[in-house]
Symmetry: C2
DNA sequence: GAAAATCATTAAACCGGTTTAATGATTTTC
DNA sequence: GAAAATCATTAAACCGGTTTAATGATTTTC
């Protein structure tokens, strides 16, 4: 590979001049510029991003730290969110370093990544990485809230508790109190938040929570989300046990619909159905169209990216943003 | 930020020693190692990935060059493929630099990215980037074939022509020759390949291609793929005009099914339906289950990544791989 | 037309690591 | 117990850019 020195020598100028021709930070006379460019082309010279980054302490790369599990696929929610992150950074001229590698806990393994800032997905409790980025002086924005919540940490999040509180209120107002809740995996914080929200709705309205049955998705028991919905309803259904089902996602609802069809249950006639997210954007396409919450996963991503871009200009900026979810009424719930 | 020099000074050793403690490339005695680590922790020192990369000429980052259009979302196919790339690189210890920025054609704007190799999605005709990466000495693997095809270029691809040839044969063998083909956008090479494949099937069997009607997806006319399927069937349907429909994706087929339901058409009784891909993995979930081609998008990604990993060890390796697509017969086609 | 001002270019230091050859201390050998 | 071998550490060069202060050439000023 040709380096800046090779070009300088061949063009009979100093490396500073070659540097200025490529970076355009200082004007270089027309004839010199042309000669340097000519020589560079002849030698197949391209400036090294790494060397440049070292000198200017800037990479125009943003990091996205995201765990990836070996056996499970990315959820529709994650995909949409990443999409939002990518789009916003792309618009702002940043590239994205996707880091899915697991953390080691060996001090010698950490290093300051070639990024100007980082978005971190789903921080863990007392996440040590947060303090580490702080020490490194790397701007950080979380997607999902830190635990414990701290004032100086920027993040964007959904309010899952509030969202399922709303759904609970909606169902209760429509006369449903015997509800099957097909929640997500028990180990996810969203699952806990959503369960609390639903319980809260019952508490506020003074109804008994006894006829609410909560199940959790389990990778061992269900081959995929649709299967989760299908199998759950098939196995647990008894006439008059439930009047409504809440599902984690639209895909789960799709499975529920198939099971209902096989059981001869009309939706929404005999069973109301509502999904807490519409990640695969299937709700509109089902028959009947599925009443669902729109989580705005993509917006979560773009907002996080926007905040990070601001922070990369001024580290002291702190912003915490809750993205509102909206309940979209379609045709799968009825008034009892 | 503390640097290696700060640590060396504070620990009373040379920077070479500090370097060895962190890189472990040379043994350093126990007491010295501990002292250095202690001091480093106190100073909040973390090695700079950029400086290290410059010295060792290696980043353990792989690049993914992928165009992103402002108005359209990533397709299910792209998402799955990227997923495959990410998973494989993650497994092999690489991180991914996702580059969605548009190309400039200014010589001074190119630079050697901080990557050890690159995967490039959908190369254009005579793509100048291919030669550029070659000059830079950066290993390259394409997803999609280069035009013109060259022996020294590594790539993975589907054989879209062959795949729709197979689908055509299957339909013809089942007595279908009046076919509506809801193809993808006219400007995509896959669309062209698939149309050729279908025509080929008719030619081979000696049937007339006259009753085949091809339509193309258009972002202006259709709000989303499902809408494309729905609107197209609704607007074009006349009794006995077609006995079968081929759709680009499972989502398009979903729209077709909804339109068919509204038109009172039984699938597969009065209309057979087949999809050329199952990106959203909806085929299994439809009623009736949709006969579809499985493109193995994720495998395309993992294979590309595997080849790149090999090339990053030995630049001279060249591999060209066609990922076979499989036609999966489910319940949406019938024998006439 | 000499002095002052402007302009283009350069030499050298710097960014923060790694690596090679040399050095000095310690251990082994006989 | 001196010579040889081994071991741990260091000084200095290097990776390939950017930037600052200095220099020499050119233009402007009066």
């Amino acid at each position: 590979m040709a380096t800046i020195d090779d070009v300088a020598k061949a063009a009979g100028v100093s490396k500073g001049t070659v540097s200025s021709v490529f970076s355009k930070k200082r004007p270089i006379s027309r004839p010199v510029t042309e000669r340097v460019l000519e020589v560079a082309k002849g030698l197949g010279y391209y400036p090294s991003h790494v060397a440049r980054s070292l000198a200017i302490k800037k990479t125009m790369i943003a990091g996205l730290k995201m765990p990836i599990s070996k056996d499970s696929v990315m959820s529709g929610f994650e995909i949409q969110m990443i999409n939002g992150v990518i789009r916003e950074f792309s618009k702002q001229g940043y590239r994205l370093l996707l880091d899915t590698l697991p953390e080691h806990d060996d001090q010698t393994q950490f290093s300051i990544d070639p990024v100007d800032g980082v978005i971190m997905l789903n921080p863990r409790k007392q996440d040590p990485r947060i303090e580490r980025y702080n020490q490194m002086g790397i701007p950080l924005v979380l997607i999902g809230r830190p635990d414990p919540i701290e004032e100086k940490i920027s993040y964007v999040d959904n309010d899952n508790r509030h969202l399922s509180l709303q759904v609970g209120q909606y169902l209760i107002n429509h006369g449903h109190t015997a509800i099957l809740f097909l929640n997500s995996s028990a180990d996810m914080t969203v699952a806990i938040d959503r369960e609390h929200g639903l319980a809260e709705a019952f508490k506020q309205s003074g109804r008994s929570y006894d006829r609410v049955h909560v199940m959790n998705y389990s990778r061992r028991k269900h081959s995929n989300p649709t299967d989760y919905g299908y199998v759950s309803l098939k196995s647990i259904y008894e006439p008059n046990r439930f009047t409504a089902i809440i599902t984690d996602t639209d895909r789960v609802a799709l499975g529920v619909m198939r099971a209902a069809r096989e059981l001869g249950l009309d939706i929404p006639g005999e069973l109301s159905l509502i999904a807490l997210s519409n990640d695969a954007t299937l709700a509109q396409e089902m028959t009947p169209a599925l009443t669902s919450v729109e989580l705005s996963a993509e917006m979560l991503g773009t907002e996080a990216a926007k905040i990070l871009v601001e922070k990369m200009k001024d580290v002291d900026i702190v912003e915490q943003k809750i993205i509102e979810a909206k309940l979209v009424i379609r045709d799968s719930c009825r008034l009892l």
